[in-house]
Symmetry: C2
Subunit: 152 residues, 2 copies
């Protein structure tokens, strides 16, 4: 248990595709595992994270602090209801709809959040460079894909 080799193998495995990196990010958020959440980020100065309604955190120190604050409020159950992908050989832009459920004193609360996640292929595999999340709604927020969809 906690064999450093198996941890290293897991971390290497998660970087094989942007989908793997994304799955690890949300799993780790759900587990409240801050070190694992941080392991998916690229080693770049200008990585950035925007939480709904919050300022933009830039760089690993500020991002870690912002995510620690989120996790300190208790466990979050995040389900990805929709993922759209724009991918090239070196860059992946994912558009996700996050369904977030949290247990509060008032009971189970639920909200939808629209987020964009960007990943770059690095020497260490696919790493997150951006998580930008927009304030949620209590109801579903379907993407507008065709003009017709807004009229019917």
């Amino acid at each position: 248990m906690n064999d450093p080799r198996s941890i290293k193998a897991t971390q290497a495995a998660l970087m094989v595709s942007a989908d793997d990196t994304e799955a690890t990010f949300y799993e780790a958020l759900q587990q409240g595992d801050l070190d694992r959440v941080m392991s998916v980020w690229a080693e770049e100065d200008e990585i950035a994270c925007v939480h709904p309604g919050g300022p933009r955190a830039v760089g690993v120190v500020a991002i870690r602090a912002s995510l620690e604050a989120v996790l300190s409020q208790g466990s979050l159950h995040v389900t990805l209801e929709q993922v759209r992908r724009l991918e090239t050989a070196t860059c992946a832009v994912h558009h996700v709809l996050e369904k977030i459920q949290a247990m509060t004193p008032e009971g189970l609360q639920q909200a939808y959040v629209m987020a964009t996640n960007v990943y770059l292929r690095t020497a260490q595999g696919w790493r997150m460079v951006l998580h930008h999340a927009s304030p949620g709604q209590p109801h579903d927020m379907p993407d507008v894909v065709e003009l017709g969809a807004t009229l019917h």
Copy 2:
């Protein structure tokens, strides 16, 4: 004036760098020139645009409709107060703080909007694939770059 050759030359020139493409995007918004706004986008199915508080528009038809709705409300004066860049040979992620001023019946209104713009290098030059803007505040929204910055 309106020489098709000079228009074509301008459009080719604007794609030389992500910064050029970004400058053209905001200039065109300010000019209310929808065709020019649309000229900066990549020819990909999964390009996406999120306006503050709005749903996500995906694809050229939905994005054009959403931007047309924005421009129909009158001219917008957008100043970029801050641009951070994470760039590779083929992908550029820009974090911008937009200062938006609009003349309304109640006088000049002002708000700050946090936006992420992503550009890819394509055969047609650098093209926008994402514009994700978060709801604004009436006041400045500085980025949190270091943990210390939030404590002092």
